[in-house]
Amino acid sequence: MEENHIVDSLIIELRRGTQIMIVLNALKKEAYGYQLLQTLNDLGVNIEAGTLYPLLRRLENQGLLESTWDTSESRPRKFYQLSDLGFEVLDQLKEAWLLIHEEMAILFKENK
């Protein structure tokens, strides 16, 4: 029980960093909040609505995303898309991630 709890919280901690990359990557194409949530869930990415929506807003505030309101439908929708800065940041994150991945692969190989 106790051990499960530790593992769970560590996994959440690990995922937190990857979530941003996943969201940025998915928003190379324009999408609104719920649509993105469904896309991600279809891809098997486990992110909750309560985490995703605030994250989108924070990334927008940091200038990594741009948004537009579409009011043509009966309900207004906020569409998000990666900004130029967002593209740059995503590229750098990708590089960093691949490096980490390589390092971990070597590390775990040595441990075997």
Partner: protein, 334 residues
């Protein structure tokens, strides 16, 4: 049921800075309605809102990094400083109030003085602790502000590093406490017996004949019961020390009551106007060739000094017990 969506959104936005509320409200509402069908049932709304999670958590997610009154980096230091400052100023408040209430006794019984003293102590203790808490918190809040925080964290020197703490010895040595217990009991019982049965024998003797007594026996007899209660409580504390060999809260509380009661009784006794027999002062003044007023004045001064010494030593004793208790507790939690 749509009402609940509005309420939910409000529960989130009210926790955000004002300039973000309108934007987040629009954002969140649109997202919620996306998750619902055209004419959602109550059950569906309930499910979607619970799916989103507790409004507090959502608001927290919108805020991103949490702001702290006291930065987590300083939190440990804050708690330590708070403890030290509260203990020091708490002790000063207790000491000053004890001194104040015992010097201005007026015409009250020992019990009344004791009760009044305790209530005064709690009053001033609360005041001083509250002020200290506010000031320390304010200082650490200032330190936690981004600019001063950066400055403090950058400018640290090797010579400011703390000395390595030595392990505290707070356990009680059984042999030495038993010896102390015996000495204190013997002296106290002797003292009480003298006060009870022989106070009218202490006096000026000439050719083995009692000429005049020094103390007034009536005043002493009224005080003795309180001294006995104080002694009994002190004996209990000694027995607890011998049994447990370390300090605990009950022990320190009983010790404090015993000391404060004994101190009150003692101070009231020696400051009582009839404590020193008038006849004795009279007799002494003719013997040493000084006026009655001069002798009275000297005696008064001596009593004031004894009173202050008694109060200060009791306070030091109480403080040392509290500090030892604190160290014991700290060691136990480690």
């Amino acid at each position: 049921m749509k009402n609940y969506i509005d309420k939910y959104v409000f529960a989130v936005t009210k926790r955000l800075p004002e300039n973000q509320r309108e934007e987040v409200k629009k954002d969140l509402e649109s997202n919620i309605y996306e998750m619902l069908s055209e004419n959602p049932s109550d059950l569906e709304i309930d499910e979607v809102l619970h799916n989103l999670g507790n409004p507090r958590v959502i608001a927290q997610n919108y805020l991103g990094e949490q702001k702290h009154v006291i930065d987590p980096l300083f939190y440990n230091d804050y708690i330590t400083t708070l403890k030290i400052v509260l203990i020091i100023f708490g002790c000063i408040a207790v000491l000053a109030t004890t001194l104040d209430s015992l010097i201005n006794v007026g015409d009250l019984s020992i019990f009344e003085i004791f009760v009044q003293m305790i209530s005064n102590i709690f009053g001033s203790l609360f005041d001083s602790l509250f002020i200290c808490f506010s000031i320390v918190t304010l200082v650490f809040w200032g330190m936690s502000q981004p600019k001063s925080k950066e400055k403090i964290l950058k400018n640290w020197k090797l010579k400011d590093l703390p000395d390595i703490a030595k392990p505290d010895k707070v356990t009680i040595n059984r042999i030495s406490i038993i010896i102390e217990f015996m000495i204190v009991s013997i002296i106290s019982i002797f003292f009480i017996i003298v006060l009870m049965f022989y106070s009218n024998k202490i006096g000026w003797y000439e050719n083995s004949q009692l000429v005049v007594t020094i103390f007034s026996a009536d005043v002493i007899k009224a005080i003795v019961p309180y001294l006995i209660i104080s002694l009994v409580l002190d004996m209990i504390v000694y027995l607890m020390k011998i049994k447990y060999l370390k300090y605990n809260v009950k022990m320190v509380v009983i010790h404090a009551i015993s000391q404060l009661l004994g101190l009150t009784a003692f101070v009231v006794l020696i400051n009582h106007p009839d404590f020193i027999n008038v006849g004795f002062i009279d007799y002494l003044s003719t013997y040493v060739n000084m006026s009655y007023q001069e002798i009275s004045y000297i005696i008064e001064q001596v009593i004031v000094v004894i009173t202050i010494v008694a109060i200060v030593s009791v306070c030091i004793d109480l403080i040392s017990h509290i500090v030892k208790l604190y160290k014991t507790k700290k060691k136990e939690t480690n």
